[in-house]
Amino acid sequence: MNDGDKTRVLDVRDLEVHYDTREGPAKAVDRVSFSLRAGERLGLIGESGSGKTTVAMALMRLSRPPARIAGGEVLLADRDLLKLTDAELRQTRLRDIALVPQGAMSSLNPVMRVGDQIADAILAHRRDLNRKAIRTRIVEGLANVGLDPSVARRFPHELSGGMKQRAVMAIATSLAPKVIIADEPTSALDVVVQRQIIQTLGRLQDGLGAAVVLIGHDMGLIAQFSDTVGVMYAGRVVELGPVQQIIETPRHPYTRLLIDSLPGIRERKALRGIPGLPPRLVNLPEGCRFAARCPFAFDRCRAETPEQQTVASYHVAACHLYPQHDSLPPITASEDTA
C-alpha cells in the first residue's frame, strides 16, 4: 500500500454518506475507501441502491439533502475535497475532477447551444483564453469524442442519445482533468452505442492520462473496461481487486453470486439471481450486511461486522471466511434459481 504514493491522484478514505430519514440516518455509503493512480481504471459495481451513485456524487461533493457527507476524506493530490471552500471547490470541479453524469440525456441545458455549454465550462476556469482559443478548444474537444465541429452550433434536442453522451464527455474532459467520475455513462443507450461510448471514454482517458472511476451495474461492461473492480453491497465495498482475480477467483460470496448470475449468450443456462433483498440501511444491526442472503453465513457473520482484509496482492475482501480459507468453498446450500 505504500508504493507509488506520489502517483496516487485520488485517495478516498472512510467515506460516509448518510441519508437523513425520520427514523435516523440511512448509511448509504459506509466507510468506503479506495485509491487510484494516474491512468488507472476502477470499476465500481453493485446493484441498484448499493450506493454507487451516492459515492459518485460525494466524490464531486454534489451530495444534496437528504444525502449528507458524514465523514471521511476525498484526497485529490493531497488536498481534501471535502474541506475546500466553495470557491476552491468550484475551481477544482472539472479542472481536477470531472463528472460524466448518469442522465446524459438530460444533462445538457435545453436552451443553450452545445458549443456555448462547452465554452462556459472552459470560461469558468480559464478567464485568460480569448474567443478564438476557446473556439479551437471546442472543436478539438468535439473531435476527441468523435463529433463533428458543426455540433457546437446545435441544440441538445437536435442530437441523438449517443451524441448527447459524447457532448457531455467533451464537456467533462474540456480541462484535461486528472480524475474522471463516470456514473453509468451508458444507461439508456443501446448496446452498440454503449460499447462505442465506453471505447471513447477509454481513448479520452489514455490521451489525458487521467484516472477513471466507472460506475455501473453491468459486470460485462465494467470487466472489459477496468483494471480494478470494486464490488459494492448495501453501502460498503465488500471486495476490491484486479479485474482478472475478481472474475476468476472471487473471494466474497456476493461477488461470486454476482458473476454467476451473468447470463451467457453461448450456453443457455437457467437465469440465476441472488435470492433475497438488500437490507434497509436504517438502524442496521452489527454483522455482515450480506449475511441474510449468503449461502456460507455462520454465527460470527451475524454478530460482528467484517472488516476489509487482504486476501491476495492488491486484493481485499470484507468477509469472515478469511483468512481461515484460501478461496470460497463450493456452494452446497440453496442452489436457488430465479
Binding site: 464531486m60 454534489l62 471547490l89 468550484r90 475551481q91 477544482t92 470541479r93 472539472l94 479542472r95 470531472a98 463528472l99 453524469p101 448518469q102 442522465g103 438530460s106 444533462s107 445538457l108 441545458n109 435545453p110 436552451v111 443553450m112 462556459d120 465550462a121 469558468a124 476556469h125 441544440f155 434536442h157 457531455v168 464537456i171 467533462a172
Partner: protein, 334 residues
C-alpha cells in the same frame, strides 16, 4: 433552419389573421342579434335632450339608416363594415354624438397601453425574479419574508386593494393624486413636466396592478424554478464548476421562464378586462373607462369599437409572444 423559422412565422401569422377575421365578424354580428334598435334609442335620447321636431327625427332616422346601410341586406352591411374598418371608420358615438368612435379610441388607447403594459411588465418581471429567488436555496431571509407578504396582498380583492391604496396614499398621506390621467390644468406637451405629471398620476393605479398580481407571478415562477433546479443539467452545471449566479440565471431561471411566458400570454386577456376595473376606480381616461361608460350609456358603436380594439390588441400581443417564444425555447422551432 431559417426556412423552418420562416415557416413557423408564416403559420403564426396566418393564425393571427384567422383570429382577427373571426373576432371582427363576431363583433359585427353579436350587437345585431341583440334586441333593440340603436338608432331609435339614439333618437329617443336626442328628443329627451329636447328641441327636435317629429319631422326632423324621421329625417334623422332615415339619414342614419342610410349612412350605416341598415336598410340594406345583412351581407351588404357586413361587407360595408369591413370596408369602413379599413378606413378606420367605426361610426359615431351615440353618447357623445357626433364624435367619431375612432377618435375617442385614439385618445384613450395610449393611456391604457401606457399604464397596463408598464404595470404588467413590472409585475411580471418582479414576480418572476422574486419567485425564482424564493426557490433558490442560497437566497437570504429577506426574500423569504418579502415574497409571502406580496402573496397575501395578491389575495386581497382588487377593488378593496385599490380603495386601501387610495385611502393611504391619496387621502391620508397625500403623496399621489386619487385619480385621473393627468392634472386637469396640464397642457400636454412632449416635455419633462408632462411626463412627470402623467407618471405621478399613474403611480396609484400602477401600484394596484403590480401589488395585485406580483405574488401570483412569484408563485408560478417559484414552482417552475423548484422543478427546474431538480433537473440533471443543473447538477451537471455545478459539476462544471460554474459560479452559482451563472447557474441560477442561465440554467435555472432561463428554463423556468418558459412556462411563465406562456402564462403571460394567457393572462393578457385578463389584463385587458382587468383594465376596466382599474380605470373606473381610478377614473383613468383609458379604454376600460371608455368601455364602462359606453356600456352604461348604451353606446353600441362605441362598445363595438372598443371591444374590437381590445381583441385586436390581444391578438397582436399573442402574435408577438408567439414570435418571441422560439427565441426563448429552441425546441419550439418546428
Amino acid at each position: 433552419m431559417s426556412s423552418e423559422l420562416a415557416r413557423y412565422i408564416g403559420m403564426r401569422f396566418i393564425q393571427f389573421l384567422v383570429v382577427v377575421f373571426i373576432a371582427v365578424s363576431v363583433n359585427f354580428f353579436i350587437p345585431r342579434l341583440l334586441p333593440g334598435d340603436p338608432i331609435e334609442s339614439l333618437i329617443a335620447r336626442l328628443q329627451s335632450a329636447g328641441g327636435s321636431q317629429e319631422m326632423d327625427s324621421q329625417a334623422i332616422i332615415d339619414n342614419f339608416r342610410e349612412k350605416y346601410g341598415l336598410d340594406k341586406p345583412m351581407m351588404t352591411q357586413y361587407l360595408n363594415y369591413w370596408r369602413d374598418l379599413f378606413r378606420f371608420d367605426m361610426g359615431v358615438s351615440l353618447s357623445s354624438y357626433p364624435q367619431p368612435v375612432s377618435q375617442m379610441i385614439r385618445q384613450a388607447l395610449p393611456w391604457s397601453v401606457g399604464l397596463l403594459a408598464t404595470a404588467t411588465l413590472i409585475a411580471f418581471t418582479l414576480g418572476s425574479v422574486l419567485g425564482a429567488l424564493l426557490a433558490w436555496p442560497r437566497s437570504g431571509r429577506i426574500i423569504r419574508t418579502i415574497v409571502p407578504t406580496l402573496l397575501v396582498l395578491s389575495t386581497i380583492p382588487f377593488y378593496l386593494l385599490a380603495m386601501i391604496l387610495i385611502y393611504l396614499f391619496a387621502v391620508l398621506w397625500r403623496i399621489f393624486p386619487p385619480g385621473g390621467g393627468a392634472s386637469p390644468t396640464l397642457i400636454m406637451e412632449w416635455d419633462w413636466p408632462s411626463f412627470v405629471n402623467i407618471v405621478h398620476h399613474g403611480m396609484l393605479p400602477g401600484l394596484a396592478i403590480v401589488l395585485g398580481s406580483v405574488g401570483i407571478w412569484a408563485l408560478g415562477m417559484r414552482s417552475q424554478t423548484v422543478s427546474v433546479l431538480g433537473e440533471d443539467y443543473i447538477t451537471f452545471a455545478e459539476a462544471k464548476g460554474l459560479a452559482p449566479r451563472r447557474i441560477f440565471l442561465r440554467y435555472g431561471m432561463r428554463n423556468a421562464m418558459l412556462p411563465q411566458v406562456t402564462a403571460l400570454a394567457l393572462s393578457l386577456g385578463h389584463v385587458v378586462s382587468g383594465a376596466v376595473l382599474v380605470e373606473v376606480i381610478f377614473n383613468y381616461p383609458g379604454l376600460g373607462a371608455l368601455l364602462y361608460n359606453a356600456v352604461r350609456g348604451q353606446d353600441y358603436f362605441l362598445v363595438q369599437g372598443v371591444v374590437l380594439i381590445l381583441i385586436l390588441t390581444l391578438a397582436v400581443l399573442l402574435f408577438i409572444i408567439d414570435l418571441i417564444y422560439p427565441l426563448l425555447d429552441p425546441r419550439i422551432r418546428r
